[in-house]
Amino acid sequence: MQPPTHFLDGALGAAAMLDGTVLFLPAEFASRVQFGWTISVHILFAALSIGLAPFIIYFTWKDIRTGSERYARLRSFWLKVFAVGFVMGTVTGIPMSFQFGTNFPGFSALAGELIGGPLAFEAKMAFFLEAVFLGVLLFGREKVSDRTYFLSSVLTGFGAWLSGFWILVVNAWMQTPQGYEMITRNGMEVAKLTDPIAAFFTPRMTWMYVHMINASVISVALLVAGVAAYIVWKKRDAKAWHTALKIAVLLLIVAAPLQAVHGDAYGRHVEDTQPQKFAAMEAHYETGTADLHLFAIPTSPDAIMNPSEENLFAISLPRVGSFLASGGDFDAVVKGLDEYEQNPPVPLVFWSFRIMVGLGFLFIGLAFWGGYLIYRDRLSDSSLYLRAMIAASPLGYAALLTGWYVTEIGRQPWVVQGELKTGEAVSSTLSSTEATLSLAAFVVIYIGLVVAALYTLRWLIEDELDELGAEPAPDDHWYGPIPGVTSDD
């Protein structure tokens, strides 16, 4: 199809041609990068709401029940974080649903019957619930009864978890689509819903939901623990924050090992349902028996861009890949990437997977270390542990993002597995000028948003320290020794 001319193409295109350089990216590439980039930022805030929900509910409950200043302080602090995260989640979420139409109309048109319902349920069942009751939670403490106030915290948190459910119904359908048949409508191939239960509860659905909710809880528990460790480190007698640290670590002790056990089974499910993605995760190029790489480091720079058996130093379980794929046969043949016409970008998937798994094991270590310190009743006294938790505070998010890259990039070239390729979903009327301009705007503005969110967190922490009466000590840094503690770990 002849790309249509656009009022901007003339002027900007001419400017681009003047010096013979290509200023504008192909529309398909720009659309993919834009969606990937905007979802990467959005998911940080979405996961913040999901992961923070149990903390908010617990702190509100304890605050109302005990009337203790400690929980009032924690509730108020984390509610502010929740509010900022929720606003950022809303404003970055709307562009996501818009991009289904602006950039990937082929996807909305083909899959509208399957994805439209769940997205509409998400808006009506979850977003309204969350937005309305967060309004009460933020501004209504004096206006409603204790019971209504607590209920508002539960409903807000429930809204966050429910919106995760409906959006993952859509995403899981894209991974393992079923419950539809292809028909022709208005001269276009579209998916017609034939079985709602099958379409909503696809084989991937429960795997994804448990893994994502738990990943959000882990990420936020690490964030809460990191902030608590920092405040405790700055202000030794901040009792509320000893409590916050302990609660976060206790949650990690449950959630981190669960993620590993669950993730292991989830991997086998991926191998069953999306063998191509699994082959990319393991850089398995040639059909034959497959090893399972537990751990891999590149032995040459080449391995980073093009990982394969020859250039990796890997600790592998020989033929375990075959064993897992076939459900018990070490000699089973696993289809390699060479057999597919088009493959996902293997290095991105391969290394993302390894970063996610590596971080997951690190979190288990941190959780158990914390558990030991709680057992010895020295959680808030170990300078080394406090510093480790401060350093680890953003790492849950790193694991969450890399996990999503495995899932979404690993599905390429498909947007709906086996049914619709991403390239076919991209708008045919989209010019590369428009796509590049919007991508540039999203990159600049979203970087600004993330920076603003981080600064907000920093200011909230500074205010909290001020209120706690911490001495401003500009010279000492958290990565130095802890002030006033001699018994180091």
Binding site: V84, T90, S97, G101, A120, F133, V190, I445
Partner: protein, 338 residues
Amino acid sequence: MTNPLLLPVDTYLVDSLPEIWFGVIMFALAMYIVLDGFDFGIGMLYATREDDHDRETLLAAFGPIWDANEVWLIAFGTMLLAAFPDVYSRLLADNYLIALGFVLALLFRGVGPELREQREDESWQRACDWSFVGGSALAPFLFGVLAGSWVFSVGAVSLPAILTGVGLVAVSAVTGAAFLAAKTGPALAGEMRDLGILATVAYLAGVVVLLAVVIVTDAGGTAGTILSIPGIAIVGLSVVAGLGGIVLALRDSYRAWLVSALALPTLLSALVALLLYPAIYPATASGAELTVETAVVSPLALNLTTVLGFPVLVVVLWYFKFLYGVFSGPIEAEGYGA
């Protein structure tokens, strides 16, 4: 085939279900431009306040409700996708930069007030104010351009689309002023009244110019519909609501004024519905005209969305009654961020 809800697979629950969904989507559009409309109005009127106390009062009126109001946009969009997926994809793909510009304007409008309260720093707060005011003015303009481009099918860079954008900005200022007049003390209410009257005059003038342009050029073949009896009725009611609102405002009956002001965006949505129906997307470069009948999803999908979605929609309306009940009564400047 699993079908536990015993939904008909080959027929719609009622024959007119596609038309009902067209109506529901237009209802969501009306809810959006009414409710988020006065949020936009608050944002624009914020620019006229120099005094810190006044600004805090406006933010206190805005704070608890805007996010829930904005969700009507998502409800509108996702219901359009669920019932008429081709319309959703063509509307947004045909108006690429306008649609994404609009969501970015919403972004600035939303984060401005949220970030403002995080820091007591004059230049920071000024930047956040700009984000709030700029976003609040640009978002209704671009949304209006999008709607105009949809209804009149003459592209976003056209006089009818741009005038629709200007109209939505003006009507948002009217509802914002009426909302603030009804919710604040006498001093601020008086100033809001004067600004609201100005905005009403601007809106009515804008509507006259838009209709003149559309009738003269017959943009999208809509001239006949505007000059039909329902078209004339909607335009006439808008004039009555606008002029009546000015009279009520001058008599300081702010609650009654608010009701008549909220009728204006409602009537605007009704006009959008009237101009579209029975088509739902006109012929453009991206394809032929789509009607409600041809664009609608298959019976099972729509029946499911109806059975699961309608009861929830009723509950949602109850939420709003609850929310506005909790935050009824006059606004206190200290109410924000407490």
